[in-house]
């Protein structure tokens, strides 16, 4: 899995590409942990190029969500592919996570909440 981190203004954008599973999730967990450990206020994860995710991937995002919530940060997941959206639906996680259609919509949400 490719993990690229950049900034759009004050938003930490995490671009993912590939399959997120039991093998690749520890690396993502560590990279996202770098952001939560410095209490990054705005985290946007772009899942547009993630065509597979298992429960390890879900667990990674649940953990990040809980951490950001503790310090009043905000996590938005954007660009869910049909396969990934299906997993979120099975786990009924759409009510927990803030999900945006794409990066643009997520950035707008962050800007509008300033």
């Amino acid at each position: 899995m490719k993990i690229q981190m950049n900034h759009q203004g004050d938003v930490n954008v995490v671009e993912l590409e590939g399959e997120l599973d039991f093998h690749s999730s520890p690396e993502l967990r560590a990279r996202l942990g770098e952001l939560t450990s410095k209490q990054a206020a705005k985290i946007l994860v772009n899942l547009k190029k993630v065509d597979y995710m298992d429960s390890s991937g879900i667990a990674t995002f649940v953990e990040v969500f809980q951490k950001t919530k503790r310090y009043n940060g905000r996590l938005i997941l954007a660009g869910l592919t049909p396969a990934v959206r299906g997993i979120f639906e099975i786990a009924k996680l759409e009510s927990i996570f803030e999900i945006a259609q794409d990066v643009q919509e997520a950035i707008s949400r962050f800007l509008n909440s300033k």
Partner: protein
């Protein structure tokens, strides 16, 4: 149709197996959505073998894919510590804590999940998906 995969229980093997399984499921007539779901169910079963049966240590695991006109069956075998996923209670959803969803995914996706108590050398899990319910 039957295919047998003899694998080392490590996370690196999962991706390649998923690729093979997608092809087999496509040939078996499953649509893309069902294929991805069945792939996920097998992936979760193997992740449990790596995490729980072998606790991250190495060991063999075997996957048997069998396709019939009315169903597809997947069997996962290992030689690790006993771990019966059918005894894991259903999680309360939505789950706000990390983990605990793998077995739930298998139960939700597959029509049957049967743990073979008679397989004393390790664990043997049968998973069945009926084509009439796809």
């Amino acid at each position: 149709m039957e295919r047998v995969f003899e694998l080392e229980a490590k996370s690196e093997v999962l991706r390649g197996l998923r690729r093979e399984l997608r092809l087999l499921l496509g040939d078996a007539g499953w649509n893309q959505k069902a294929t991805e779901e069945i792939v996920l169910a097998l992936d979760e079963a193997l992740t449990n073998v790596i995490r729980h049966a072998y606790s991250g240590k190495s060991g063999p695991m075997k996957v048997v894919f069998r396709d019939f006109p009315d169903r597809t069956e997947l069997t996962v075998e290992d030689r690790g510590a006993r771990f019966d996923p059918t005894r894991i209670p259903e999680p309360k959803l939505p789950r706000e804590k990390p983990g605990g969803l793998g077995v739930y995914f298998i139960k939700k996706i597959m029509d049957e999940m049967i743990y073979d108590d008679s397989f004393i050398q390790g664990n043997r899990l049968h998973m069945i998906k009926r084509k009439t319910t796809s």
